[in-house]
């Protein structure tokens, strides 16, 4: 069973940069897609974007395109979500999800990373 391990909670100030990670427990995974999902306080889940670990092919939800960077390191089976300048509205739980190529659903989920943005 694939496990997704997310980086720990972060406390940042507005304007700071941040990069959080999600590592897949299984090495040498091929044709595996990963996604980032946001949950703002008291709100529902929102798709942000997806990336294929093999070649870093990405697709973004229109709401998040240009707002964040999604990248991956194939050698460590890790996906990243990055902000260059955080705002208060970026405070949220961020979940990563994973699935095999060809699936239209997400089979594997991480426990979430809490990002707090406060001056």
């Amino acid at each position: 069973e694939v496990q997704l391990v997310q980086s720990g909670a972060e406390l940042k100030k507005p304007g700071e940069s941040l990069k959080i990670s999600c590592q897949v427990s299984e090495n040498s995974l091929t044709n595996y897609w990963m996604a980032w999902v946001r949950q703002m306080p008291g709100k529902g889940l929102e798709w942000m974007g997806i990336i294929r670990l093999d070649d870093s092919d990405t697709a973004f939800s229109p709401a998040f395109r240009g707002q964040v960077t999604i990248s991956a390191d194939r050698s460590s089976s890790t996906a990243f979500l990055q902000w260059s300048s955080l705002g208060a509205s970026d405070a949220a739980f961020y979940y990563c999800a994973g699935t095999r190529h060809g699936n239209t659903f997400w089979t594997d989920w991480g426990p979430g990373t809490l990002v707090t943005v406060s001056s």
């Binding site: 979940y95 239209t104 979430g112």
Partner: protein
């Protein structure tokens, strides 16, 4: 791409059945049978419970079932149990657009 529409909350007594609807458009949910459902206990990892409209992953209780008619998908929980209290989200895959969109989420309460 707008979120799919779900009722904000649904409740039922133990042993009862409840149904959660998920409404999209003919361009997303109605166009493909690529609807999945996720159970989410706050602060925990979401869990896939239904994929491609009505399929259950291994290990998911048979009390969960899915269906679709036109632009609306539905999740039914039979024999409601206390452990079913959670938030439930539908999700549609549309290869020509964003390509995923979640529903607005439904909070299930077991009375």
């Amino acid at each position: 791409q707008s979120a799919l529409t779900q009722p904000a909350s649904v409740s039922g007594s133990p042993g009862q059945s409840i149904t959660i609807s998920c409404t999209g458009t003919s361009s997303d949910l109605g166009a493909y049978n690529w609807v999945s459902w996720y159970q989410h206990h706050p602060g925990k990892a979401p869990k896939l419970i239904i994929y491609e409209v009505y399929n259950r992953p291994s290990g998911v209780s048979h009390r969960f079932s899915g269906s679709k008619s036109g632009n609306t998908a539905s999740l039914t929980i039979s024999g409601l149990q206390a452990e079913d209290e959670a938030n439930y989200y539908c999700c549609s895959y549309t290869p020509t657009t964003s390509p995923y969109v979640f529903g607005t989420g439904t909070e299930v309460t077991v009375l």
